[in-house]
Symmetry: C2
Subunit: 276 residues, 2 copies
């Protein structure tokens, strides 16, 4: 075993709280990928020049369905706008304190405008499929930007709270019809005094199926994970609603717990997505 | 300018077909990200042992909404199953020839089963929001796996055609209700005789907005891109339906051109997603 493979073993140990066999050599991209943890506390420090442009180049390098590139992104640095967006997203303080806040958009407006210019039909834009293409494209792009940021020593956290009040976000950002803020992303220099631990994930048996879905393996491995997470919550001093499964189920207990997202279908209709 | 920054300039030049300023130093993760091109032609060669496990560790290291981990993946190596899946996806030959085919799933079945076991409510699973969380989670995970593969010298291509016949895919993979194959992914050793070029993307002005959405900058930069892509199509000997915008609009012209995906909403209902 060489030096880099033992770092790999350590990273895998942190991710699963148990040793898993890799027999592979670490490379710097794998190291970036495996080391991810969300960062919600930032230094009061601007990003280096051209950082945003490089993040966007990484984002645009991701796969995109049929090269339609059905996404775009709004970069926000204005403190007052960040404050308003933070309020739309349940007052998440890190939206205010990060130097750069990105709102990732499904963007079918660009194709719509190009079609209008050419006088060409674009009826598929009214279908659920094209909304899904836009969500996938935006997410692929965002994850590339996230990894680019992390490779440069920056930290990020995704903000699903952008979906709490989609119309208010759209008005704030001047979005045209057929665009939609799927999620936000805070980016900044991690506060070195508040670096989170790598969070353990479910055992591979719970998420990786061979040839066909195996429901039986899910229950047993979930029990192992519940024990792992009980230790993790306690080591981090995290207060949760019981075990991992209870805590997770509490989050999905029903529309009253969805902070506005229970009306996402109606909001999307209002924003120009017919979702036929 | 040092050696690594001039490689960075070259990568950016390939991505935009024009020089863009970076003033930054390349790192190996950025290099992996910026070098992406889809690979549809593979060597007849198995993957090294433990490759899949490492790809999944990378996938599980991605962000996931509220740590719900509402995704899973089916890994397929059986040639007959790959053949059937290829037929569901418009007979894409690379599904047959890649050594490993992954189908990435929205998976709300795991939470549903855990809720049933605890006797706890999970009414939010019936909302569009949770389907969207699953799509985002699955896509973040998949993109991490894609980048892990590329960092190891493998090539990948996403297969949206998994959505042409969602119920047939679900039956083939034995999927329980509340799961759904969002897309597939071919993985293998790239055929060195058929390496695609990096595909140019829209100018940054078309996708990057500052503070608010700027529709005006989209049209002008689209014209530049149409010219860039005309050169690219010609240099690659690609046959398209006219210019990039015409070609793209041809793809979204209406339900007749959607290869089954015009009924995605009905298919998702059949698979247990109420999408309230």
């Amino acid at each position: 075993m060489n030096g880099t493979s033992s770092i790999l073993d350590k990273l895998l140990q942190a991710r699963y709280s148990t040793a898993i066999e890799s027999n592979r050599t670490l490379n710097p991209t794998l190291e970036t990928l495996l080391q991810h943890r969300s960062v919600r506390s930032y230094e009061d420090k601007a990003l280096a020049p051209n950082t945003l442009e490089l993040l966007i180049a990484a984002a645009q390098s991701a796969s995109t369905s049929s090269n339609l590139q059905s996404w775009s992104v709004v970069a926000i640095e204005d403190p007052e706008r960040k404050d308003r967006l933070a309020r739309f997203a349940g007052n998440q303080e890190h939206i205010r304190t990060c130097p750069l806040f990105l709102v990732w958009l499904v963007d079918l407006a660009r194709l719509d405008a190009l079609g209008a210019r050419r006088g060409l039909a674009r009826d598929s834009l009214d279908y659920l499929e094209l909304l899904m293409v836009g969500i996938i494209d935006a997410t692929l792009a965002a994850q590339n930007a996230a990894l680019a940021a992390e490779s440069m020593g920056l930290g990020i956290v995704y903000i699903g709270g952008m979906r709490n009040q989609p119309e208010a976000v759209a008005a704030e950002l001047g979005l045209p019809p057929r665009t939609f803020g799927v999620f936000g992303m805070c980016i900044g220099h991690p506060n070195p005094e508040r670096v989170a631990s790598v969070k353990p994930r479910l055992p591979q048996q719970a998420v990786l199926h061979r040839e066909q879905y195996n429901a039986k393996q899910v229950a047993a491995s979930a029990d192992d994970y519940i024990a792992t997470m009980a230790n993790f919550y306690s080591s981090q001093g995290m207060k949760t609603n019981g075990d991992w499964d209870q805590h997770s189920l509490h989050r999905v207990r029903g529309p009253d717990a969805m902070a506005g997202r229970e009306r996402l279908a109606a909001a999307l209709q209002n924003l120009g997505f017919e979702m036929r």
